[in-house]
């Protein structure tokens, strides 16, 4: 995959439109899923995923695009767009974090309990640090290996494992009090 990505990147850097389209078709769905699980809204996830690929095009145009590890680059940008999104939301609405999930009703087919749980997870995630949220999202939402997470975060694998430990512990502190009746 990496060799194929590197080949695509070389072509994309030369503005080969077929290669750029292939990159989009390959990575848009997983990037969308990765973002959706953090924001819980189809529209917002579509917008943010589009923003990721817009930044990719801008970087290609300026010659500052990735030269290797395309996947890691795209997920890194994806994480940054989510962080920026939450920052904008907080700034725009002047609302406490709990009130930010008013859009989580775009999946009415799911059971009410499931929706609430998903919201609680996202709410709990927002209480984590940016790096903790990133490692959780990559590992559990995007299904990355430790090495892949390390590539995205540009950290050693050992540091990723330690960060994962702290992130899960912090998440557990956020979630378990409300879930004790389910798992006790």
């Amino acid at each position: 995959v990496n060799d194929h990505d590197d080949e695509l990147l070389v072509k994309a850097s030369a503005f080969d439109r077929t290669a750029i389209a292939t990159i989009y078709e390959t990575y848009q769905p997983p990037i969308y899923r990765y973002i959706y699980r953090q924001v819980g809204s189809v529209e917002v996830a579509r917008d943010l995923a589009s923003e990721v690929f817009d930044r990719f095009l801008q970087a290609l145009k300026k010659g500052t695009g990735p030269t290797k590890q395309l996947k890691a680059w795209l997920y890194r940008v994806g994480h940054n767009t989510v962080v920026d999104y939450y920052r904008r939301q907080q700034h725009r609405n002047h609302l406490p974090i709990d009130d930010m999930f008013i859009y989580a009703d775009d999946n009415p087919a799911q059971s009410a309990e499931l929706n609430i749980d998903a919201d609680q997870v996202r709410l709990a995630l927002t209480q984590l640090t940016s790096e903790q949220r990133q490692v959780i999202s990559l590992k559990f939402f995007a299904g990355f290996t430790n090495q892949e997470v390390a590539d995205v975060m540009e950290k050693p694998v050992g540091a990723v494992k330690a960060l994962q430990h702290r992130a899960i512990a912090a998440l557990q502190r956020q979630l378990i009090p409300t879930k004790e009746r389910d798992y006790s």
């Binding site: 078709e25 969308y32 917008d47 690929f53 499931l114 494992k161 430990h165 899960i168 879930k179």
Partner: protein, 459 residues
């Protein structure tokens, strides 16, 4: 101890992710079970709690379309993948501008400087002498390593050619050579690069531009040569039509269309040299008279009770407005003067142009582009030097740009230049009344594909 726990937790998380139950995993690590249990429970919840809702297929298609629009808007076209074709482009670029375009350099995956040097060295080693290389390069095709040398020689010939006629004829020869190369490539089963046809067009345009600056007799000589060349190449294209592979059909058709259009330009130029000058002269002659101040046309109101006993000449801005003795049929150095347009000839200029991108004059100002008449062309008696030799007077409703609707390449497109046939030569008789031609609208450009920057889809 903490490090060990971190590793154990990581192993346990992987097992939970693969579908094992938390209980089963904890059984493997009884020493850590108490600490692991809440963490694995939270992790399992992360895996299971949130199914992703995907956009509809229409939304996905819209997103992809938006991305492709942005790509088209942001990124320039890529360069050819073939190093030889890129080398050719570089040769032409170097010799044409004597400077490199940084955008072109940026678009290349591998820089051409090294390749250029290598090509020179290889050619020198292989062929030993410039003469040998030149002879072999002369017959080379774009897919040959010797083709860049051919380009260099051609540019050198153009640089050395002295005299307008010699340069025009050389441009025609080079255009013919490009078309011949296309024919040979297509017969060989190779699809010619679009740049080849573009170069042929540029040579033809250059020849027309030079011809437009010549005296009428020399211009006619060049145009006849051009006509012969176009006919020869058209015949050659017709002969190879059956041998052209399907992949080259589009290029084949484009070349034939280009030849036909160029032939039309030549035919029109032979019939009316002024037309060719109008279309292809970019520089105003140095000895051309000053542009006259444009005055608004006098309004002639004819009441139903009036009887017109003498012909009414519309065009008071002309050199002899109201002067019946004036002879507008001048024959100065820029061609014969144009008689004032007749009332029943609206749009009697070169004609309205559709999608006219010609930069000569704003298209929405009728007649604004016409050159002033030459004082030598007549009208000495009336002392008015605003004679119009190049086209109808400004108040005519014809297209002020005076150019036929043309293709972007500059070769008039027959399908768009219907107005061009309305041009009246000085010897023409007054034409029957025709409906007023619509002034052409300025081309709005192809800016309809702009898209937003990616956000704002209703979020």
């Amino acid at each position: 101890m903490k490090t060990n726990f971190t590793i154990v937790l990581d192993n346990c998380l992987d097992r939970v992710r693969r579908g094992e139950t938390v209980t089963a995993v904890l059984d493997e690590y009884p020493a850590y079970a108490e600490a692991l249990a809440p963490l694995l429970t939270s992790a399992q919840f992360l895996y299971e709690c949130d199914p992703v809702v995907m956009p509809t297929s229409a939304e996905l298609a819209a997103d992809q379309q938006q991305f492709e629009d942005q790509m088209a808007q942001l990124l320039p076209l890529p360069v050819s993948n073939s190093p030889l074709m890129r080398l050719n482009d570089w040769m032409v670029t170097l010799l044409s501008w004597l400077k490199l375009n940084p955008i072109n350099m940026k678009r290349e995956q591998r820089k051409m400087g090294t390749l250029l040097l290598k090509a020179t060295l290889i050619l020198t080693i292989l062929f030993g002498s410039v003469g040998g290389t030149a002879v072999m390069a002369a017959e080379s095709l774009p897919d040959s390593p010797l083709y860049p040398a051919k380009m260099i020689m051609e540019e050198a010939r153009l640089g050395l050619a002295s005299g307008t006629t010699a340069r025009a004829v050389l441009h025609l020869d080079l255009a013919s050579e490009r078309l011949r190369e296309m024919e040979r490539l297509m017969v060989n089963g190779t699809t010619p690069d679009g740049a080849l046809l573009e170069r042929a067009e540029k040579h033809i345009e250059a020849a027309f531009g030079l011809a437009a600056e010549m005296p009428a007799q020399q211009m006619a000589g060049v145009l006849v040569q051009a006509q012969t060349m176009f006919q020869t190449r058209t015949r050659a294209f017709t002969e190879i039509e059956t041998a052209v592979p399907a992949s080259s059909e589009q290029m084949f058709n484009q070349a034939q269309t280009m030849l036909k259009n160029a032939g039309d330009v030549v035919a029109a130029g032979l019939q009316d040299p002024q037309l060719l000058r109008h279309r292809h002269t970019t520089n105003r002659p140095e000895d051309a008279p000053e542009q006259p101040d444009m005055q608004p046309p006098a309004v002639i109101i004819i009441t139903p009770t009036q009887t017109i006993t003498t012909p009414v000449r519309i065009g008071p801005i002309g050199p002899c407005a109201g002067n019946e003795e004036c002879d507008l049929q001048g024959d100065g150095p820029y061609g014969p003067g144009h008689q004032g347009p007749q009332p029943e000839q609206p749009g009697a200029g070169v004609g309205p142009g559709e999608a006219n991108e010609d930069p000569i004059g704003p298209p929405d100002i009728p007649g604004s582009d016409h050159e002033p008449g030459n004082p030598d062309s007549g009208c000495d008696d009336c002392g008015n030097d605003t004679g119009n030799q190049y086209g109808p007077l400004p108040e005519e409703s014809g297209n002020g740009s005076g150019q036929p609707g043309g293709s972007e390449s500059g070769i008039p497109d027959g399908s768009q230049s219907q107005g061009g046939t309305q041009h009246q030569t000085p010897d023409d008789k007054p034409a029957p009344a025709q409906p007023p031609a619509e002034p052409s609208q300025p081309d709005s450009g192809d800016n309809g594909s702009s898209s937003n920057s990616g956000s704002g889809k209703g979020s």
